[in-house]
Amino acid sequence: MTNRPGVLASAVRVFDLSLGQMLWSRRSVFLAILVGAPMAMAIAVRMVAVTRGLPVINGAGLSGPTLFGILIWMLFVRFVVPVLGVFYGTSLIADEVDDKTITYLFTRPVPRSAVLLGKYLSYLACVVLLVIPSVVVVYFLIIPIGGSVGQSFPSLLEDLGMLIVGLAAYGALFAFVGASLKRPLIVGLVFAFGWEQTVLLIPGYLKRLSVAYYLQALVPHAMPQDSSISALLQVFQEFPPVWVSLVSLTGITVLGLWLAGKTVEKREYVLEQ
């Protein structure tokens, strides 16, 4: 008899099986359009900069690096990363259940938690493939507007690292939500755009129960004062040290995956007849 494969080896096999399906799914096409929006925006800004000079906001000219920082904050950290986490994370197992293909994975000699881990790794590869090209294209379009590509390059690497850590944490958290609840998408959206945004505005310790609190501390750009909410955030600005953020986000990722794995192991998935 063949030896039972370990969790990691099984997860890699599930990853191989799932990545193609996930990359070419309708969800990925839709989210690729979403992630493409910043690129379209960057092209527009670049064209304006070439024809009319530096973009001006509130009477002040914006340099490329400042504008890039605004896009990272406004579009990627506050919107794209949570959206990708919610839409993919909550559907890791739910998609297979809806498609009724989960049977093929759950009747093989691999722990169900390995199936979840493999799907999670596929998610991570998929979202990294969506986000990184978008950020890099935006960087090369925006930074040359009054900035130096070479000088800003280290901060691009920090941005990419921060976004991957954020995608990992949100994905693991929403994988747990998806494994536990019947309607995980609604709960996920409420958490990402209700709870996360609200607790950051409340003074005290509550904000420590959010992913955004730790993720913001890793952003290598100053927080833009683009709205009254941002101004309020600046007032209550309290960023944990980078190492605390990294440890916390790693903790959220590991705990989220462990809980999701345990839930999938115990839960029955009754396929609609």
Partner: protein
């Protein structure tokens, strides 16, 4: 209960909220080929899901090949499962799909590819193995599903409605394959709502209805009952009307009607009818026969009879 039983259930019940899927079933399934016969909604799929560890019993216990199956992934080394649903990773080719699934059994990639190729050859799909599953006919999809179940050479093959939608020739080949599997000392549990299908594979049956096992054992008694009721068959072919004309002359055909691009035939002698249909398909004189399915009205009538008696 005999220790030689491949499946043993003790007061096994499964309910979904208020709905009872399986009700206090105690049974032992012997080695060899066993047919699970029952109309749609009888509890066949629930039983199949319980013996493949997809569902947890609400009450009672179940062992498969002497081991508990719920939360016991190691048991799947010894079990192959072909589910009823016509669902796949459509973008993959048949070969990629079977290879990837066998790979989950912990074998090397080369071994997985070899096992997949062998299984694909067994179900006669080698020529289309590198086509995407989305392009497969219903019969091919059934066969590739069968290939993934048997690729790792399991001791027990569990097949949920495996012949559904297959054309007569492939159906005959698949029946032969299942019987060969049984003869080689392996065990098979195969479900169907068509007695004729089960009868062509085994004489050992489990009769299930409304979540209860009504009868266990030899098929002949049930067959006598079912022969009293007309059997309905839906056929979709290249030349449906010419096919219908052929059947008109057969004494055992009771009625014919055209429906959904096919013909629905009622026959009093399903065995004779299926033999004739297979002959016609093999001769090819009326073109290809694409689909043969049977609604379970006749079986439902037998079950009502059994429940009342």
């Amino acid at each position: 209960m005999s220790s030689a039983n491949i499946v043993a259930a003790e007061h096994l019940s499964k309910w979904y909220g208020q709905v009872i899927g399986l009700n206090d079933v105690t049974l032992g399934v012997p080695a060899g080929i066993t047919g699970l016969l029952g109309p749609n909604g009888a509890g066949k799929s629930t039983f199949m899901k319980l013996i493949t560890g997809q569902l947890k019993p609400s009450k009672g216990g179940i062992t498969v090949l002497g081991e508990p199956i719920w939360e016991n992934p190691s048991a799947y080394f010894r079990i192959g499962f072909c589910p009823e649903q016509d669902k796949f990773y459509e973008r993959m080719t048949g070969r990629e799909w079977v290879t990837a699934l066998v790979g989950l059994n912990g074998v090397s990639e080369a071994a997985a590819a070899e096992m997949a190729a062998r299984a694909i050859e067994t179900v006669d799909l080698s020529d289309v193995a590198d086509k995407k599953i989305a392009a497969y006919s219903k019969g091919m999809r059934q066969r590739i599903k069968l290939a993934q179940a048997l690729a790792h050479d399991p001791e027990l093959l569990i097949l949920d409605e495996p012949l559904s939608g297959m054309d007569p020739l492939v159906r005959r080949k698949t029946i032969r394959l299942i019987k060969e599997w049984g003869r080689s000392g392996k065990s098979v549990i195969v479900s169907s709502h068509i007695l004729h299908e089960i009868e062509s594979m085994t004489s050992n049956i489990l009769l299930i209805n409304q979540g209860r096992i009504l009868a266990e054992g030899n098929v002949h008694q049930i067959r006598d009952l079912i022969d009293e009721h007309p059997h309905t068959v839906f056929i979709r072919a290249d030349h449906t009307r010419e096919l219908a004309r052929e059947f008109l002359t057969d004494a055992e055909v009771l009625s014919l009607k055209f429906e959904d691009g096919g013909v629905v035939v009622q026959t009093g002698r399903p065995d004779v009818f299926y033999a004739r249909l297979t002959e016609l398909a093999a001769s090819g004189e009326l073109g290809a026969i694409h689909e043969v399915t049977s609604p379970d009205d006749n079986l439902q009538a037998v079950f009502q009879y059994l429940v009342k008696s």
